[in-house]
């Protein structure tokens, strides 16, 4: 029997799917309207799941409030109300697809989770488009 907690955080950001090594035509062919030069945007939801043992004293794997603050400091503050292609150093040189964003968030959070272990990062671009990275 394994235990987990998940918390959800929200942020609003602009992005554009564009591989700078390709021609505009190639970007348009691969990414369609997601490649429009001025970008578009989303209300993103980030769902972070941590796996661990329930501490018998506190009844918690890890305090959900602490986990939210950690996510807010390490991720949300760096992406909220930003343009993911221009304003976010941890995405430099990365096409900001939902998949790449999930992988980048994993790399940031994994070493920061001290109690329990990061189990899953979910990025909802919308309620129809979801990317997941899981151990």
């Amino acid at each position: 029997m394994q235990s987990y907690i998940s918390v959800r955080r929200h942020f609003s950001a602009a992005h554009r799917l564009c591989n700078p090594e390709w021609s505009p035509e190639e970007n348009q062919r691969i990414y369609g309207t997601c490649s429009n030069p001025n970008g578009h945007g989303h209300n993103y939801t980030l769902e972070i799941t941590v796996c661990g043992k329930i501490d018998p004293e506190t009844g918690m794997i890890l305090d959900m409030k602490t986990l939210k603050e950690l996510i807010d400091d390490a991720v949300i503050a760096r992406v909220d109300h930003k343009h993911l292609n221009h304003d976010v150093p941890f995405l430099d040189g990365i096409v900001p697809t939902a998949e790449n964003l999930a992988a980048a968030v994993w790399k940031i959070l994994d070493p920061l989770i001290q109690e329990g272990a990061l189990h899953e990062v979910r990025v909802y671009e919308s309620d129809r488009n979801i990317a997941i990275v899981r151990r």
Copy 2:
């Protein structure tokens, strides 16, 4: 007793709150992070309500599918996967707040609704921020 139908449509767009007649500092003071130069974005929901009589033959005020196509052609196709400050002629010279967007959509749709009459335009920037224009 009055009858209405409402339909909801979705689009993803970038925007930036910025009055070009103000200094950067003034924009930052009024709009805060919503004024970040590279913009941010949202999954917008547009909820359009039409008031009218239920046709006794069809049982409809106005065919919801027709209404959706009208909205998609007149509004969604012009804002989806766009940057509201740069790519949308009907917003030229308008700060793209949710309120102004609702008012602009009203102006577009009002003359196009032939059966019944436009009653309300709702713009959801997120499930926490809503602007409404109503007759």
Copy 3:
């Protein structure tokens, strides 16, 4: 200053949009796939709003639990897990559009609300298609 309560109830039903006085071609032309002979279906949500004075002793306009039971007995029990075209006497001779369904529910509930007065009936065929009848 006016006070209201709203409650929401759910039911699952099949329906088909079809005016029996028209030819199959005419039904297909007006209703499209909604006119497919074997019908389709929805998870409907019914949102009922009652307007009234807050009783200073109970702090309620009308007990929400009582209102739900009234709706369940008078409406939900007659439409849940039913085919609206075949199994629902109060819809006999009526094309079961969302608009007609809202109007039919209004006629049933209006005389039954004793404390306060029925203010609005909303029928959600989905989270994108809504019909409203309001006093």
Copy 4:
């Protein structure tokens, strides 16, 4: 044509429906399980709508961020993670039904809204139980 903005805020609270002037049996008869002595609780959503003119310079009726801060200071901070029957001075002597809570929030917010005017207070006890106060 009239313009509005709505914002939504969330809080978690315990409450118990109980008129202290009634016997336990009478409270049980009127309020049922909502009258259980130790109380129960909800994730409440507060939806506040303000009516006003869109300022042609800012494109806003009232800054949504300012409105949220005002609601958070005047209401949310006083009810979040509280027991509505014991911890909330503005509800002293009031049975904390959703209706009474909406009316009490109206009384607090109405004099505080300086730009535009308070139009509606909605209290969602759950997504099935809603109380509304409207001008």
Copy 5:
């Protein structure tokens, strides 16, 4: 570390739970109101998850738009606005429970996913009833 994408699609359909080899009484005993002869219906949600490697050039496992088109062509077009017991050849001879529907969708999609591999099919009959098939 494993990567996935999930997309959600919606369709509206009628169905009836009925094993044609059983008596009407037996069907009623096993399926209850789900066995009503004229059927009922749902707004179904299909959530499809694909597992794979993130392509370092595109930043995608598989283009979500391509995946949606594949699902729409292979599944949604064959079930939307249909009666699952009468109009859907791939369900012939199958009781259209959510479980059987998920398994049937798996069989259709599994050979069609070329980049990555089908990982999970979820069928939401409502937000309370979910069937899942997973590799």
Copy 6:
């Protein structure tokens, strides 16, 4: 290929995070406002997933209606409209965190699932705070 069904049930309850062996200051330090003496509350959602083989005759792993009744009898009736610290014998001596609640529900339901096997218990305290126990 493995099959599962999930059902969701809702309940409203009060709780307070408090380890009775700690001082009030220690409880405040660890649990913050969640430790307020009079408690607060939530609209909880319980999502129960059962793993099993789809019966070829019924098309079901386990009748979802039967599963819901089992959950309602064994869990929901004991927690709905209750205070989790005072009114729920199966939580005696347990700090009612979401994690502990999920584990306690697992212990109750695991021996009761006869067809298939309990796979996962999810407790949603809100749409932002989730605890999971999985085999």
